[in-house]
């Protein structure tokens, strides 16, 4: 899992049924000190946790599908937590 910052929204009307109603964000991976780390990527938000501007924790690869109620969705990354603070 990694830390990221939501920097944008991807609008898509035509998508596979598994991700209907799920928002897709452009996320910039960041370090704990707020510094950017690597290239932005698209992250799904199945539980509607995040909003643009938020710091989040996201999970990648096979485990990303587990964030959906069905455990079955063609996504490579999912939001799992909204970060309040890092102490």
């Amino acid at each position: 899992m990694k830390l990221g910052k939501v920097i944008g929204v991807v609008w898509a009307t035509k998508k596979v049924p598994q991700i209907h109603g799920c928002r897709l964000y452009v996320v910039q991976p960041i370090l704990e000190n707020g510094q950017d780390s690597g290239q932005p990527l698209v992250v799904a938000d199945p539980k509607n946790i995040a909003a643009p501007g938020d710091r989040i924790v996201f999970v990648t690869n096979t485990d990303a599908a587990q964030a959906f109620d069905t455990g079955f969705a063609p996504v490579n990354a999912s939001v799992v937590e909204l970060v309040d603070d890092i102490a």
Partner: protein
Amino acid sequence: MIFAKVIGTVVSTSKDPNLEGKKLLLCKEVDHTGKPLNSYHVAVDAVQAGEGNFVLISYGSSARMTELTKNAPIDAVIMAIIDEVQITDPAKSAKKGTSEV
């Protein structure tokens, strides 16, 4: 997921039975501003995409997680057609001028 632009089609007759009836599209990877990156994918189309479309591709084992691609030897699938990418952080949006998509 990665951003991509559909640039062509791939036709194959002798292929794995699990690939039959699936449309294969040639997709160039781009970044969120539409700038072409240095890689491409041949992806199975799950959303009736066409040439010129700006799409999202899911890759690796996640690509098998649609009804269409379940249990098929597919490692890239087009799972959404993008209408718009809205970047809220002005410092990040389209640094290189206008989008090419």
